[in-house]
């Protein structure tokens, strides 16, 4: 009996305790927020309500706190000369065997792969291809023959000499063994010849303006003496390349460990050892970074943590333009979204700057309706987005799409203007953006229902089998492309061309003869000045026709511990985690 009676008492006390804990822990909140502002004490009575706003000011100027850790950094540099540098950089998932046929993601899998393997060219910090394993490469006058001269004395990780035979073998291997990224660029080669050990001559059927981007700088060279005769490339367990690092250890789902390659052709890398632990949960990654268990992460720092990390003297935050995109994808085949004027009205009703300020707390760049990131060298500053609810309404009125039954929703050709906006349920920021978009479109009489679904299900509706020729089943969708699509501006053609073979990323089924014409011309133009003019035309056309509405480009925000290593290089739009950051002549 007594035990029976005490139990509810304990439960009651527990609730009371919880309530008290809640009150007491909620209470200090407002006072802890303005902590960095000691002048607060002098403020008069209305401080209580003003506190959060006041707190925003000191932290809004990130320049000062980040400048502070300069001294420990200098000390670390001095120390680095004597003791080996070991860096721990967390990634969110295992990347499989690090070889060209088995790595998993484009980021960070490809970045890790390129620590082990080199291509003939390398993308520099501005994403422009520069000679690497090759000393130089020249195209003939007709643009069909490329003569490539290789470096002397480059060695594979196993000590064998690297030669032109490896290049020929690698390109032919990629042609013979299909891979989504490597096979396309080499498929049409007419011939590959190797007159001597350091020369490769490649003949093409037609000029390829993207040869340096898609072939020279992208395709990793694999050793002939190990890969020859391998018929099942996906399961071949090998890591031998010519790269700056060797893979010392890989424990699946736990970590990778790289060691510097002392024989690397460009000199011994600056970081002696790279340990890449795999930590799935972002909260855990950022906590570990704060406590010093890891020194950096490939994950972009969440906007809400930036202030806190910037004010932490042990951490440094690098921020730059990001090329990963978030866009509102129209189904350009389905009424009423197939009408340019309707898409223009939608674009006018969405305040992209407000999306950036609200959802991403300002840590992003508002979208250019012409797709290209404003930091891209091809971008025409004259192309700009506009926000005007009045103009949007006027456009819809002009089409005769009016709200005739007074329910707040316009009718387009007799049907109410309603749409389902699909969004990936594992992307909370995109869901939030979708909610704000729906609110904006409500103001112009379009009723949008946000539907969250699992990302594979969404892909199956928007981009079935990742093949745009297989159709689509949606009204509107939140979508995004990873940084490489934006990093190479010429890939814009694949987003807007109506032929699936060319417009392989045209998931909205957009069709426009003018756009196709310009895009076709871009694909065969080698002359750089002409290319630029054509790209500007394409950008302007895209901004007017709006096959999709570019919403924002997330900033790249990377945090690291400068005391351990502080020679990171920010590769435009792609971040700091790539081989340039670890090379001996970094900076």
């Amino acid at each position: 009996m007594p035990a029976f009676k005490q139990a509810p008492l304990v439960a009651g006390l527990l609730i009371l305790g919880l309530l008290l804990a809640a009150c007491s822990s909620a209470a200090p909140a407002p006072s802890s927020a303005p902590a960095p502002a000691p002048t607060q004490a002098a403020a008069p009575k209305p401080a209580a309500t003003e506190a959060p706003k006041a707190a925003a000011q000191p932290t809004a100027a990130p320049a000062q706190p980040t400048a502070a850790p300069a001294q420990p950094t200098a000390a670390a540099k001095a120390a680095a000369k004597t003791s080996p540098v070991s860096l721990r950089i967390a990634i969110p998932a295992d990347e499989g065997i690090l070889q060209p046929y088995a790595y998993i993601t484009g980021y960070p899998g490809w970045n890790m792969l390129s620590l082990l393997y080199d291509a003939l060219y390398v993308f520099d910090a501005d994403n422009l291809p520069k000679p690497w394993l090759a000393k130089d490469a020249k195209a003939s006058a007709d643009g069909k023959t490329w003569t490539i001269t290789l470096r002397d004395g480059v060695k594979w990780h196993d000590g064998q000499a690297f030669s032109s035979a490896d290049v020929k073998f690698a390109y032919e291997y990629y042609k013979a063994n299909t891979h989504s990224r490597w096979t396309g660029p080499v498929r049409n080669f007419t011939s590959i010849e190797t007159p001597n050990a350091t020369t490769v001559v490649i003949t093409l059927p037609s000029p390829d303006p993207q040869f340096a981007f898609r072939v020279l700088a992208d395709l990793p060279i694999i050793p002939k003496h190990l890969w020859e005769g391998k018929t099942d490339p996906k399961t071949f367990n090998t890591n031998v390349g010519t790269g700056a690092y060797k893979l010392a250890e890989h424990q699946t789902d736990q970590f990778y460990r790289f060691t510097a390659n002392p024989d690397f052709f460009a000199g011994k890398p600056a970081v002696d050892e790279l340990v890449i632990p795999i930590i799935k949960d972002p909260n855990t990654i950022f906590s570990a970074l704060k406590t010093g268990e890891i020194h950096s992460t490939i994950r972009i720092l969440s906007p809400e943590l930036v202030k806190d990390f910037q004010s932490n003297a042990e951490l440094k935050v690098q921020r730059g333009p990001g090329f990963a995109t978030t866009l509102l994808q129209f189904n350009d085949e389905r009424a009423p979204w197939d009408k340019t004027a309707v898409r223009q009205a939608v674009a006018l009703a969405i305040d992209t700057q407000k999306l950036v300020d609200t959802v991403l707390l300002g840590f992003a760049t508002a979208g250019n309706p012409g797709w290209l990131h404003p930091a891209s060298p091809f971008h025409d500053p004259a192309v700009k987005g506009e926000y005007s609810v009045e103009k949007a309404k006027a456009l819809l009125d002009g089409l005769g799409y009016k709200d005739s039954n007074g329910d707040g929703v316009r009718e387009a050709d007799g049907k109410p203007m309603e749409a389902s906006l699909l969004v990936q349920s594992n992307q909370p920021l995109r869901i939030r953006a979708a909610e704000l978009i729906a609110a904006g479109l409500k103001d112009i009489g379009i009723n949008v229902k946000v539907t969250a679904m699992e990302s594979n299900s969404l892909d199956a509706k928007v981009w079935p089998d990742f093949d745009v020729s297989k159709g689509r089943d949606f009204d509107l969708a939140m979508f995004g492309w990873s940084a490489p699509v934006q990093a190479n501006p010429l890939r814009m053609v694949s987003l807007v061309h109506s032929k699936p073979a060319v417009g392989s990323l045209n998931i909205g089924g957009f069709k426009n003869a003018d756009v196709d014409k310009v895009a076709d011309e871009i694909n065969i133009t080698v002359d750089e000045a002409k290319q630029k003019t054509l790209m500007r035309q394409l950008e302007a056309l895209t901004a007017k026709e709006l096959p999709f509405l570019m919403l924002y480009y997330d900033d790249g925000i990377y945090a690291y511990r400068p005391a351990v290593y502080d020679r990171w290089i920010y590769q435009k739009g792609q971040g700091i985690f790539h081989k340039l950051s670890f090379l001996p002549d970094a900076k």
């Binding site: 009996m1 804990a21 809640a22 927020a33 809400e304 909370p428």
Partner: protein, 316 residues
């Protein structure tokens, strides 16, 4: 009936009071809440202030208003999925208790299967397969928690089916359907009510768990969804958990507790097996299979979300 059952139990009264408050909050949300929870009314991620008592969330919506409106969604999901569970559970319980042969055995094995289904992995699958919206969530929770009510009701039916008036009805040639509906169902009705209240508390907790994991409908403002966004926007690292995580946590706790206390009180009063708990409890203890006390049952409720408390020992 409800009042008579609760009147004698102070904890039941506490539960009823809590629930009344939460229901009033849900019904009157439009008047009570200071803002429209779907509108951006402030800067994102503000700390509590006079204008926003619990601060603002990641897109500048008022967290207090979200919390008040959240009661609607959480209660709706809780009550509807409990109703589904109860309809199935009562049906299965009646059949399994009344037809004791092959039908009963098969139904009880089905109940066993449902009881041991690993809940979250299944939920991940269903969310992917059916799509993530509130009605699917209700259906799925309902379809997964009916087994315990079914067991409890079956054990009651087992004893009812042997009562004289049932035997008499059978002797005069009444059809099984008639007996079940006219004579057995009324006998389990009060027990079913207690099970309904308990199932509601369980499904509120489940909804919160699923929404927190991002498996619910992230566009609906339930308490679990508030927690989901708090976690997604790193409230635990930035310190915002004090006003973004604890309040919905308390609301979930209070409503689950409210339903649980009321459910236990009803069960104590209405379940013949637990009636007159003083004497029976001691008798049971001496028999070595005492029903777990209220404390023990509460503990079970909170340590395992799918475990519905109060199932009487299975007889037969």
């Amino acid at each position: 009936m409800l009042w008579r059952a609760v009147r004698r139990s102070p904890l039941g009264l506490l539960g009823l009071t809590l629930l009344t408050l939460i229901v009033v909050m849900a019904v009157g949300a439009s008047w009570i809440a200071p803002y429209n929870p779907t509108q951006t009314v402030g800067k994102p991620l503000e700390a509590p202030s006079a204008a926003h008592w619990l601060g603002t969330n990641d897109i500048g919506q008022d967290i207090l208003s979200e919390l008040i409106f959240g009661a609607r969604i959480s209660l709706l999901i809780g009550v509807l999925s409990a109703a589904i569970a109860l309809v199935i559970g009562t049906g299965v319980g009646l059949m399994a208790g009344y037809f004791r042969g092959l039908v009963g055995a098969l139904l009880m094995r089905l109940v066993d299967v449902v009881l041991v289904i690993p809940f979250l992995p299944l939920m991940v699958l269903l969310a992917a397969y059916l799509g993530q919206n509130i009605w699917n969530l209700i259906a799925v929770i309902g379809l997964l928690i009916w087994a315990r009510p079914a067991r409890v009701i079956r054990s009651q039916v087992l004893s009812l089916a042997e009562r004289d008036y049932v035997l008499a009805a059978r002797a005069v040639g009444a059809r099984d359907g008639h007996i079940l509906i006219r004579h057995v169902l009324p006998g389990v009705f009060s027990l079913a009510l207690a099970q309904f209240v308990l199932a509601t508390s369980g499904s509120i907790l489940l909804e919160a768990a699923l929404s927190f994991l991002g498996l619910g409908d992230p566009t609906q403002k339930s308490w679990g969804t508030i927690l989901y966004y708090a976690q997604a926007r790193n409230a635990f690292l930035s310190g915002a958990w004090r006003w973004w995580v604890i309040p919905p946590g308390i609301m979930i706790t209070l409503s689950v507790l409210g339903f649980a206390l009321l459910g236990f009180a009803l069960e104590e009063a209405l379940n013949p097996r637990l009636k007159g708990r003083g004497a029976t409890a001691e008798w049971r203890a001496s028999q070595g299979h005492g029903s777990p006390g209220l404390g023990g049952r509460l503990k079970r409720l909170f340590t395992h979300p799918t475990s519905q408390p109060g199932s009487a020992p299975d007889v037969g």
